[in-house]
Amino acid sequence: MDAGMDADMDDGLATYNFAYLDEQTKRMIRRAILKGIAIPGYQVPFASREMPMPYGWGTGGVQVTASILGPDDTLKVIDQGADDTTNAVSIRAFFAKVADVATTTETAKATVIQTRHRIPEERLTEGQILVYQVPIPEPLRYLEPRETETRKMHALAEYGLMHVKLYEDIARNGHIATTYAYPVKVEGRYVMDPSPTPKFDNPKMHMSDALQLFGAGREKRIYAIPPHTDVVSLDFEDYPFEIQHFEEPCALCAAQGVYLDEVILDDRGGRMFVCSDTDYCEKRRAEGHRGHLAGDTLEAAE
């Protein structure tokens, strides 16, 4: 997969523009980004371009990143919290090549972070930009397939349907079962899809010091949350929003209060829970933190 994409890239990039996109496309995307920032949570339509990678690879995020990136930037790309998946590695290599930018895996060193499915554990800072890859930008889409209707609902701020859906969740499960792409209301106005991040990450969007930009390539939408902006997860008085809690700390770095992934160790049911944010976990281990399985996995690796 990696090699195939590299070959495609080389074919198409014989005479590429800086950051791949032509200037007219960048202007169009830049205009959409500015409108998105001025109307937090509103989905701005844009004329998405073909990129040298399939839609599932985050072409919306890639186009946003390509339109903001400059030679002074340092780019980090994560996929499900990890810097080393095929998707993350390929996108990082793509921009290192077409925009000649510095890349990093360290959250604190990045000026632009493109992400699929996670927000880094380390608190983002003033001046950083988080670019989300979004598959389905419309939070009402599963409830109402017609674009004309969802657009009307946003125009009137008529979000009753969304509450009905969450309430049906409660009726069926005794709690709100939605754990990913959990809808938020931005600055008291627009209901927005935070992309398929775990709801664990929703509170990080609220009053973030960083600018958050969202790009949906196939659906041709860009939206934004400026820094220091109110982002509230939808809930009910009797069923308040809650994030996931994990019983045990990270097996490798002993971190608590972070999002953990389950890793299967063997075919006898052995498993462990580790940080989904690989950079965060590595940094903690480098600082000397040890989880209860840190030694075992080190031995196993040798």
């Binding site: 800086f18 830049r30 500015l34 409108k35 920032i37 109307i39 509103y42 903001i68 600055e187 400026p226």
Partner: protein, 203 residues
Amino acid sequence: MAAGAHIVEGGFADPVFASQSVFRAVMDAMARPGPVQAIDTDLRPPAPLNIAAAAVVLTLADADTPVWLGQDLARDDAVKGWLAFQTGAPLAGLPSEATFAIAANAAALPSLSSFALGTQEYPDRSTTLILQVETLTEGEALTLRGPGIKGSETVAPRPMPGHFDMQWRENNALYPRGIDIILAAPDAVACLPRTVRIGEGES
């Protein structure tokens, strides 16, 4: 000298990197209303178009974006010719047809509500007003609150349009419709997105 001799000169020497850096300054200014962002460029636009306003319009405008010019700019053939050559943007006959509006004289600006305000379903279809000012730091201080602002910020532009506070409150009341303003001093910009509230006390 004929205007024609000048329209091909004075643009960005390196448009790709210059527009990227100008865009980031504008994006920062829009995302964090108040703080002044420096515009560092080699542009030499014809007066009375100032450098920062010219940099913003060259970065964002093109054949897809009708540009409306305030009267001081509209009656200057050198300015019109230069903008047409450098951006390819058509001139908008009415403020309400403009994607971008550039005004060099705040006193002669039509009311903010005469620009495109977007619709309730497409509030993005609104005018971005690039308003030239002499200073962003030495005018009367405006206290700003809203998204992008931690607590409050100030910006002190001069000159500003008449009854600006009242006009801006009317703009706020249209939300999510409304215009956004890029204030352009010769060497810097600051932004007033439609979400910004001016001069309110603690709420």
